[in-house]
């Protein structure tokens, strides 16, 4: 499997790796995937009172493309409003990372993780 330069860059230097306090009311946590499927993504956002994403962190168990997809979206989301972040589509991710067709589901997983994190945050308000 040949990886694109973008995937290798995110894989070698993943951005925003980490964990935030799930109990914090400002933090939304999205965990998607399953170990049995070979991929689990945890994406967390910290949202200001104005509804802007101030920080984003991820950890991913999965292939290089899944790691790169989650790393990329944490970069994108910072500074976005929840609505803007909610508009990120897997196609944006797969295009940016030049994912081959068999790796599209890794970007779908990242989109799902964003939605799950936003939903989790909203459910806490």
């Amino acid at each position: 499997m040949a990886y694109s330069e973008q995937v290798i860059d995110h894989y070698e230097n993943p951005r925003n790796v980490g964990k935030m306090d799930e109990a914090d009311a400002h933090v939304g946590t999205g965990m998607v995937g399953a170990p049995a499927c070979g991929d689990v993504m945890r994406l967390q956002i910290k949202v200001s009172d104005e509804g802007v994403i101030e920080d984003a962190k991820f950890k991913t168990y999965g292939c290089g493309s899944a790691i790169a997809s989650s790393s990329l979206v944490t970069e994108w989301m910072k500074g976005m409003t929840l609505d803007q972040a909610g508009e990120i589509r897997n196609a944006n991710i797969s295009e940016e990372l030049a994912l081959p067709p068999v790796k599209i589901h890794c970007s779908v997983l990242a989109e799902d993780a964003i939605k799950a994190a936003i939903d989790n945050y909203k459910s806490k308000q």
């Binding site: 499997m1 990886y3 894989y11 993943p14 790796v17 964990k19 965990m31 998607v32 995937g33 399953a34 170990p35 049995a36 499927c37 070979g38 991929d39 689990v40 993504m41 945890r42 950890k59 991913t60 168990y61 999965g62 292939c63 290089g64 899944a66 790691i67 068999v102 589901h105 779908v108 997983l109 799902d112 799950a116």
Partner: protein, 404 residues
């Protein structure tokens, strides 16, 4: 480009330079290029002599009679010829075959085909250590069983089947016993006289010989009959037609002769290397060696690094040529059916790497493999939410996963 370090000897081996030299001598006009079946001139006679010499070399490694060796294109063809050949010849006696869940696809898919033709197949389940016991074989035996087919050494986990004990059972019941020895030839001693095996498959390219050539041992006493799968000029006593590939056959013979001469010293060295590799990684938490601890060949180390995913691990190990227990290339990731048959959970199966060590592996190679594996596992665990959860004491089996 610097090539990655080769640690995939179970997939294939480079041809030993001593073997390559002999093969080259059988190709050009100046060489031994004749058709071994040509009866009317010296070109044919010389080629035939080389082929028969190689046949003896292969037979010698397993203590067989050269007349019991049939050339094929590799272990896949040997497996097909043995299993379909027996099934089609003996179907009036019965239509039941016994094999296991951890056989190579060359056996499993052949059995599937026979099921479509109306045969019944029992797939034995291995123990968690990857072993099929003689008792399991005895219990699965029926009135209409005609064949038991089991591999000698498993290609993924390196465990060794007790073929001598199983051969006693099959012989007593007059059921034929086929053994796929692609991964054991040249690695452990084989004696078809003392082990009551009736058919045995071999491949040259796992033993520092060329790809595209193999052999099937077909016992003469008591005689085993096969229905040919390849029809034509009636070569190989009618069991496998097709002009014999002198250079390939000479290569296989030479490779098997070298294996016989050097097996002991190779094994001692390779065993020490495998131990060195295991010693270098086993102190990390949640690292497991798969397959039985002692009933195994020396070259195989199949290791699970829990909480890291196999494909990303392979990506980190780009400077090592190894193979993974699973390849997630689609939405439905398939962990290795062999590891799964051992009852291993999917996460652990996804996190396994097969290192296979061979004749040209050095201590420095192993040290490099250790360092890169450790670095990769540490890096990926830092990235892994599962590792976090494990460290926090979360039981992963109790989590409701949002499957996608």
């Amino acid at each position: 480009m610097k090539l990655p370090l080769y640690l995939d000897y179970s997939a294939t081996t480079p041809v030993d330079p001593r073997v390559a030299k002999l093969m080259c001598d059988c190709l050009t006009q100046e060489g031994n290029f004749g058709n071994p079946a040509s009866r009317s001139h010296v070109y044919g006679w010389q080629a035939e002599e080389a082929v028969e010499n190689a046949r003896r070399q292969v037979a010698d490694l397993i203590n067989a009679d050269p007349r019991e060796i049939v050339w094929t294109s590799g272990a896949t063809e040997s497996d097909n010829l043995a299993i379909k050949g027996v099934a089609h010849f003996y179907h009036k006696k019965g239509k039941h075959i016994i094999t296991s869940k951890i056989e190579h696809k060359a056996v499993l898919d052949t059995c599937r085909q026979l099921e479509r033709e109306g045969f019944e197949v029992t797939y034995l389940e291995p123990s968690t250590e990857g072993l099929i016991s003689p008792e399991q074989v005895a219990e699965a035996m029926r009135e209409d069983t005609i064949l038991v087919s089991l591999m000698h050494v498993n290609n993924e986990i390196g465990v060794v089947t007790d073929i001598a004990a199983i051969g006693e059972i099959t012989r007593a019941q007059k059921v034929l016993f086929h053994v796929d020895a692609a991964q054991s030839a040249g690695k452990i001693a084989i004696d078809v006289e003392s082990a009551k095996v009736d058919l045995m498959s071999f491949s040259a390219h796992k033993v520092y010989g060329p790809k595209g050539i193999g052999a099937l041992f077909v016992r003469r006493k008591p005689r085993v009959r096969l229905e040919a799968q390849m029809h034509g000029g009636g070569h190989e006593r009618g069991m496998r037609s097709g002009t014999l590939a002198t250079h390939q056959i000479v290569g296989m013979g030479a490779a098997f002769a070298i294996a016989q001469a050097e097996m002991e010293s190779d094994n001692a060295r390779i065993d020490a290397l495998r131990q060195r590799l295991w010693d270098g990684v086993k102190d990390m938490e949640e690292v497991y060696m798969n397959g039985h601890a002692t009933q195994r060949v020396s070259g195989n180390a199949n290791i699970s690094f829990n909480f890291v995913e196999g494909e990303s691990l392979l990506m980190s190990l780009r400077e090592l040529a190894v193979s993974s227990g699973s390849a997630c290339t689609s939405a439905s990731l398939e962990p290795s059916y062999v590891l799964r048959a051992l009852g291993m959970n999917d996460e652990l199966a996804h996190s396994s790497i097969r290192f296979s060590i061979g004749r040209f592996t050095t201590e420095a190679d192993i040290d490099q493999a250790i360092e890169q594996s450790r670095n990769a596992v540490i890096k990926l665990r830092d990235l892994s939410p599962l590792w976090d959860m494990y460290k926090d004491g979360v039981d992963l089996d109790s989590v409701q996963w949002a499957a996608h």
